[in-house]
């Protein structure tokens, strides 16, 4: 095919990458790239034609004394038909190729491995079928992966350039994306839809594991509670499960109060009473956040009942205790 030949001309410098495109690393990427280079060459041809004619005419018919403009026809049906019909045929080709590629991009195979994605200001949570949650995306190579995505706040957009995949995350709605990675390595993942202050920091890595290694990684990663001191595991959970979105550890308050130095203190509640921040209060705050609401804060914290295991809650408590 022309486009394949074309891509080998300009678009095949390193590992199938090119000046314009990073190396394709998913099954759909080569197809997107070949459409890209098809359009590129059509455009380059027409651009050269337009600019070439323009320069030629400017040089050849530059105004000279005593030389009149020559009379030519004011219109010419054949010419006009030609330059209407040829572009029409070309754009129809581009359109059809675009649609075919799009249908591939949008419709995952039935047996895809499913990962749930939550976007929030301003990080990503990828949840695996066993319930484990990470901020970076780990996937097996050579296996189709389906992402079922939603947002907790505003619209975000998941974008993995190396896979040529992009899909918006819309609050209160599920959107889907899929890909099958074709080479192991680490790739960048960006939020592509503007979402406020830290939009440009809402990035993550995609780690593609060699065949067979993904399961081992997941097994290992899911048992992180057993492998590190609880306070450290608590910190990981604090970041991964999005507490970081509303709670700081440096003493400044965001949507919620800071965790720094609260353990063991007395804090005022919205109903006028006070409460001592101890293990039970923290546990209650995580599971039933609205029973006791801190004075000066809005009751917006979501409940984590059913999402955090007891061991995880204990780790978080240890983490908060450790913030002196």
């Amino acid at each position: 095919m022309f486009s394949n030949w074309a891509s080998s001309m300009l678009f095949a410098q390193s590992e199938g990458g090119s000046l314009f495109l990073s190396p394709p690393s998913s099954t759909v990427a080569p197809m997107v790239d070949s459409l890209f280079s098809l359009i590129f060459w059509i455009s380059a041809f027409f651009f050269a034609l337009i600019v070439g004619l323009m320069v030629l005419f400017v040089v050849k018919y530059r105004r000279r004394n005593g030389v009149e403009a020559q009379k030519t026809a004011h219109h010419n049906l054949l010419l006009e038909a030609a330059w209407s019909i040829i572009p029409i045929i070309l754009v129809v080709v581009i359109f059809v190729e675009g649609v075919l590629g799009y249908l591939d991009l949008r419709n995952p195979p039935d047996d895809a491995y499913e990962i749930r994605v939550t976007g929030r200001k301003w990080n990503w949570a990828f949840q695996y079928p066993n319930g484990h949650v990470e901020n970076n995306l780990h996937v097996p190579m050579g296996v189709p992966v389906r992402l079922v995505m939603t947002s907790e706040d505003v619209i975000h957009s998941l974008y993995i350039p190396a896979f040529r995949v992009k899909m918006d995350l819309v609050p209160e709605r599920y959107t889907k994306a899929w890909f099958e990675a074709t080479r192991p390595g680490t790739y960048r993942l960006y939020c592509a839809e503007y979402c406020g202050t830290e939009h440009s920091n809402m990035t993550a890595n995609v780690v593609v594991h060699e065949p067979g290694e993904f399961e081992a990684w997941l097994e290992d990663a899911s048992n992180f509670l057993d492998k590190m001191p609880p306070a450290e595991a608590g910190k990981l959970l604090y970041e991964r499960r999005g507490c970081i979105q509303c709670h700081t550890i440096d003493g400044t308050s965001k949507t919620g109060p800071s965790f720094r130095g609260i353990f063991g203190t007395q804090q005022p509640l919205a109903d006028g009473s006070t409460v001592t921040v101890d293990e039970n209060y923290i546990r209650e705050s995580i599971l039933e956040p609205l029973t006791k609401v801190r004075a000066g804060y809005r009751p917006v914290m979501p409940t984590y009942r059913g999402q955090l295991k007891d061991a995880e809650i204990s780790a978080i408590i240890e983490f908060i205790k450790s913030l002196k």
Binding site: L35, M54, A69, E97, R164, K166, R173, A192
Partner: protein
């Protein structure tokens, strides 16, 4: 051209036209309350150029920040405010009104041989609405800024605590300014064409303004309603777009682009109109395919209403909708492409004079060519999914808006400048400015295509280090572009102060504005001029003592005096 016209309008501005629209009355009130379309046009010109200066300074600040991947001097928040205001000021205050409101206001009645627009008071009202809208924008900056992006996407825009409501009021008021101008133009073109000017004897610039006005009148109300709904949701908590209130955030995108895609044609159609005039006059050739260009303006205006969904290919709209919108998008691309071939064919066997307006017109064809062709990548579904919301899109629309509309605006400004202010500018310097602007534009925006298709998302205050070389190139280009524009401004400023007096017809144009003196008298024409073919240059002869062209009834090619050698840089 009839003999009467030639003698009527043979201009001796120094001798027998002591007053013109600039000198007829004095004092600020004579400007503030003027009903003269020319003065209103000039006020618009000053206003949109100030907006352009503001938007341009913000662009330079953004580009400076992006020299390094990490923070240079702007916090993330400030960066976000800055790109929002850059976009909002440039689209709403500059590009949309630039050609229609500034040049169109000045020229439309004169090109029709009329004294004024159909509704002069409405015209002044639109100008003050523009001013009011601009004030609301400034207020929004002062009262907490705006960080939603010029697109105001929900639910971000309904939840951020910046002055979204003030800014939407601004955009709402500006919308009315735009609608009134559109109405006025439609009424004027429909009712005030002089005897002999049939629809198909109208200059193409007027066709372009007519098509633009149709879009302004039909599409802008949708933006107005959308913004009212947005404000209602923010202020009254009515759930329209926010899913937490039972609304649909993607609905906002449909509404917004239902206006804003056609608005792209509000920006580019008048630009194409200017280019049609300039290419024909400076090639001394009848425009090729007049009817096609005229019809295609209207076709683009109408088809432009059907393609808004191409901004939402990754928003989760249904696959069928995406396919239909992609197909319709390609259908609009064809008429635009064909116009380019029409301009080229117009130049064929012409007598091409590379004066400044023509230099800008050629730059337009080059830049708009790139802008248009890269649209193909974005109209095609599979590639758009990858390129959407990256710098590729940023580069694409800057090639169209800056390389297209801005360059055409500059072409028009240099073309009609002698008419508007009665002064010539320095050719050599003006061409130098054009050249620097052209190089600067390419250096700014071409690297953005590359980094975009390599994955650099837009609206990023910080970025991965691999993109830095492209950002540095882009910033260098932006500074160069800034230098070019400053030179351009100085050249025009200098011409006002000590430019040579302009003849009535310095370029040899055949449309009616070249029949009246430069600058035109208060009521443009003492006697309604007779109308001929706007692209027939046969009766135009260069006169050395006028330093311009005069209309002569008979062709006397043998006796032509030497025309000026085109100035070189």
């Amino acid at each position: 051209m009839s003999a009467t016209v030639a003698t009527q309008s043979a201009p001796h501005p120094q001798a027998d036209a002591p007053t013109n629209y600039l000198t007829v009355t004095r004092g600020w009130r004579s400007w503030a309350f003027t009903l003269d379309h020319k003065r209103i046009g000039v006020m618009y010109l000053v206003a949109v150029l100030s907006a352009f200066l503001l938007g341009g300074i913000m662009a330079l600040i953004l580009r400076m920040e992006l020299v390094t991947p990490t923070r240079l001097f702007l916090s993330e928040d400030l960066y976000n405010h800055m790109f929002t205001l850059h976009g909002a000021v440039m689209t709403f205050l500059f590009i949309i009104p630039s050609i229609p409101a500034a040049l169109g206001n000045f020229l439309l009645p004169i090109m029709l041989g009329a004294k004024d627009l159909a509704f002069p008071r409405l015209n002044l009202a639109s100008f003050y609405l523009w001013v009011a809208g601009a004030i609301f924008f400034l207020l929004a900056i002062v009262l907490g800024g705006l960080d939603t992006g010029w697109t105001f996407y929900t639910p971000y825009s309904t939840t951020t605590n910046t002055s979204v409501v003030t800014a939407t009021i601004g955009a709402f008021v500006l919308g009315f300014s735009s609608i009134f101008t559109g109405l006025n133009f439609i009424a004027t073109i429909n009712t005030m064409r002089p005897p002999g000017m049939t629809w198909f004897r109208m200059p193409l610039f007027l066709w372009a303004l007519y098509a633009t006005s149709i879009i302004q009148v039909l599409a802008t109300p949708v933006l107005g309603i959308t913004l009212v709904l947005l404000a209602a949701e923010r202020v009254l908590g009515i759930g329209v777009f926010d899913p937490k209130l039972g609304g649909d955030p993607v609905l906002f995108q449909h509404f917004f682009w239902f206006y804003s895609h056609p608005a792209v044609y509000i920006m580019i159609l008048p630009a194409m109109g200017v280019i049609s005039e300039v290419v024909s006059v400076f090639s001394r050739k009848h425009i090729f395919g007049y009817r096609f260009i005229a019809y295609s303006s209207i076709a683009i205006a109408l088809l432009g209403f059907l393609v808004w969904g191409h901004h939402m290919f990754t928003s989760g709209q249904s696959q069928r909708a995406a396919i239909i919108f992609s197909g319709l998008t390609f259908s609009v691309s064809i008429p635009s492409a064909i116009k380019v071939f029409n301009w080229l064919t117009t130049m064929y066997k012409g007598s091409i004079w590379l004066a400044t307006p023509m230099c800008y017109a050629l730059a337009f064809i080059f830049l708009f060519g790139i802008g248009g062709l890269t649209g193909l990548f974005l109209g095609a579904l599979a590639t758009d999914v990858h390129l959407h919301d990256t710098y590729f899109v940023v580069a694409h629309f800057h090639y169209v808006m800056m390389g297209g509309t801005l360059i055409a605006f500059l072409a028009g400004l240099h073309y009609w400048w002698p008419k508007m202010f009665g002064r010539m500018y320095h050719e050599g310097w003006a061409q130098l400015a054009c050249f620097i602007v052209f190089v600067g534009l390419n250096l700014t925006f071409f690297p953005q295509f590359i980094m975009g298709s390599r994955g650099m998302p837009r609206r990023y205050a910080r970025y991965d280090a691999e993109f830095q070389p492209f950002h540095v190139m882009s910033t260098t280009g932006a500074l160069l572009l800034g230098v070019g524009l400053v030179i351009c401004a100085l050249v025009l400023w200098q011409s006002l102060r000590r430019g040579r007096k302009a003849p009535a017809n310095p370029w040899g144009g055949a449309t009616l504005e070249w029949h009246c003196a430069s600058p035109p008298p208060l009521e443009n024409f003492a006697v309604a001029p007779t109308v001929g073919d706007p692209y027939d240059f046969d009766g135009l002869v260069y006169k050395g003592e006028e330093e311009g062209y005069v209309f002569e009834p008979k062709k006397q090619p043998a006796k032509r005096e030497a025309e000026p050698e085109p100035a070189t840089v």
